[in-house]
Amino acid sequence: MEKRSAFNFTKFISMTGLFLLMNACYPDETLDVPTNQPPVNLETDLDIYIEENFRKEFGMAIRYRYDDRFVRPTQRVTPPKVELVRPMLDFIQNFWVDPFLEVENGEVYFRGYVPAEVVLLGGLIYNADGTVTLGTADAGAQITFTNVNQIDLNDPGWVSLQLQTVYHEFAHIVHQRNKLPTAFEEITPSGYTSAGSWFNLTDVEALTRGFVTPYATSSPNEDFAETVAVYLYDTDFAQKYLDEIPNCTTPECEAENLGKESIRKKLVSVSEHYKKVVGIDLEEVRTAVQARL
């Protein structure tokens, strides 16, 4: 008993002493010193504009100054030209923010689902394995726009890259929070490709499988996001993906029509899902987007 008591006292004092030694000096010193974060500089008109129109308005930080924490260590990227940031923000406002704000329930949806951070990159994302990433998003928290330095609203390739990226990534947040529509993945269950092989498909092959793009075949989640994105921005969506080719006489034509039938089912499924879980009509959003193109 006494032995245990003496032992406890010594152990208590020793442990207390060690603990205090480890934490004794410099009580103000912390380990979470910000080491790599750009200071908020509101001295420029651009930074003030961002603060007022994006951060305060939507809780969305716009990152245009280079910071290596925005990309993976193996990715090589550049920041945008500073004079192109404002035109890019106008593009984002016009083609992403405003179309959602002007439809019924769109503002509530947009404010509730908007990612906390938007990163602007000057060029593409060059990966260590030689591949190039066109756009990316991180679990609904961040959307990255690439190739800002090539901004050209008259270049359909550039515009479609940006719109496909942002609508695609924004759609991911919907299924991440609300799951996929019921039985969505059962519309074309055999059409999905094995991991990493989607890029072997051509556009026509994807279409005959019932997908809007080859990338959509990579998983039901990507299928959902691609269907939404292409539906919103592709002016010829109905003709390319929905309308049956009349008087089919070849197997290729019949296969294409079968694929379109599947896409029609997917569009119905996706549209009903949006109405149900976020309360907006995708067709209205598409109309708003198309009015701007």
Binding site: F9, L21, D28, R65, T78
Partner: protein, 461 residues
């Protein structure tokens, strides 16, 4: 042991009680130390009256870029350079910078400028940088080391600039040299431009490949004569020397001078002054009398007057020798980069063609196939080719004189001969092609450029 435990415990407690005395109060907190270090470096950066001079060499193989940098307290840096791309926007630009504290102090150029332009060359594989770790102060200089280089990081030294340094920029030279970066192929990224440097006083020409963006030169060979025909009719002297260069005071200054021995002269070239630029250079097509290409005139330090011209003559395609070459029919392009099989004459006349074939001095099992002939492979495997005169590759130049002699592996549809004549006349218009190696792992691939109509064909050996 039990006896020792209690004193040790009491000793620890004593240490705790007396460990934090007033002597340590003058050591600032880490945030303050970081802030002070950042402030000190910023003070150094903004202090020189004329900013900093940097001779920037992104990689050991690259040439040098003269830059003058002026930092201000607000996080802006004005960068002047002699990089003429993007319409001269990098001659004088202001971007923002930031000093971070990571493993040490880091200088980040955080919006796009000339460093980022160089960084993105070759899909960001060139090796330029825009993130720097502060290394040390060396006298009045500041030394930084690249953060983004995985190995052999670039070290730069900022030296206080002199007022006269601004006069060293050779921006006209830089912009004019960029004009030689044409006629270099349009498909798959093109190729590096070739140049002929005529040493007019000595009647000798040097041929080299120049990488205008990375500022290095590979001097390939020299020969007697001022025209391609003259050079090819004489003995060629190989050089095989690669060097970086800088643009200084209106001159191309070579990092590593080289020696030529041709036409009875042997001289070392270390710099070329170029001061008379126009667009009156001769066409690269022998049958085209026009003179609209870039031309620079000046002189060398050792060989007198010179004229610099574009050229397709290059040892980069010297391995295009006797063999059978073929390619998918989609790999023949017109001067606008359109595939002939998609929107051009092959699509119009031979929509079922699947390949293009060029028999170049090789006897096949079928002795009826002319050993010098070129034409199409059809989807059903039949071959339709047109014969051309026997020839050889001179450096990388192939002369094609088409004959009115045709071979068909099976009887072709009516009108095939005229269609084949039209297409081969179109592809080989002017009668000459220049071959260039294409770097394709595991395959010998050549790009053939027609200097007369700028068509391009890719051929696989």
């Amino acid at each position: 042991m039990k006896i020792l435990l209690k004193p040790i415990a009491l000793l620890l407690l004593t240490l705790v009680v007396f460990s934090c005395d007033n002597e340590n109060e003058d050591i600032p907190a880490v945030e303050d130390r970081v802030s002070s270090a950042i402030s000190a470096l910023k003070a150094d950066l903004v202090s020189p009256a004329n900013g900093w001079r940097l001779n920037y060499r992104p990689t050991p193989d690259a040439g040098a870029f003269l830059m003058l940098l002026t930092f201000d307290e607000s996080g802006n840096v004005n960068i002047r350079s002699d990089v003429a791309n993007e319409g001269g926007s990098y001659f004088d630009e202001t971007i923002t910078y930031r000093i971070d504290s990571g493993q040490g102090l880091e200088l980040i150029f955080e919006t796009f400028g000339v460093f980022h332009f160089l960084f993105e060359l070759d899909q960001a594989t060139f090796g330029a940088e825009f993130e720097w770790a502060f290394d040390k102060r060396e006298g009045v200089d500041l030394v930084f080391t690249s953060i983004s280089d995985i190995s052999d990081p670039t070290v730069i030294t900022l030296t206080p600039a002199e007022p006269s340094d601004d006069g060293l920029f050779s921006r006209d030279l830089s912009a004019n040299l960029n004009k030689f970066d044409t006629l270099t192929g349009q498909i798959f990224g093109g190729i590096l431009p070739g140049q002929q440097v005529q040493l007019t006083d000595g009647n000798v020409s040097i041929f080299w490949t120049i990488d205008i963006n990375k500022r290095n030169i590979r001097a390939e060979f020299a020969g007697v004569g001022l025209t391609v025909t003259e050079v090819l009719s004489n003995t060629i002297s190989n050089i095989g020397h690669t060097t970086g260069y800088a643009l200084l005071d209106g001159k191309i200054v070579l990092d590593e001078p080289f020696t030529i021995a041709a036409g009875g002269i042997q001289r070392t070239i270390s710099e070329l002054r170029l001061d008379d630029f126009d667009q009156l250079g001769p066409s690269l097509c022998m049958t085209d009398p026009s003179t609209t290409l870039p031309r620079y005139r000046g002189f060398t330090n050792t060989l007198g007057n010179l004229t610099m011209l574009n050229s397709y003559l290059s040892s980069r395609g010297a391995n295009f020798t006797s063999s059978v070459y073929s390619v998918n029919v989609d790999f023949l392009f017109d001067d606008q980069g359109n595939a002939l099989a998609q929107t051009g004459s092959i699509n119009d006349k031979f929509p079922t063609a699947s390949g293009f074939v060029m028999f170049y001095g090789v006897q096949l099992n079928d002795p009826n196939i002319p050993i010098y002939s070129a034409g199409l492979i059809m989807e059903d495997g039949e071959i339709y080719v047109r014969e051309y005169q026997p020839t050889i590759t001179q450096v990388n130049r192939v002369t094609i004189t088409l004959l009115d002699s045709y071979y068909y592996s099976a009887t072709p549809p009516a009108g095939t001969e005229q269609d084949l004549k039209d297409i081969t006349d179109e592809i080989f218009a002017g009668g000459e092609m220049y071959a260039f190696d294409e770097e394709v792992p595991g395959a010998a691939v050549f790009r053939l450029i027609n200097p007369c109509n700028r068509y391009e064909i890719f051929l696989v050996n």
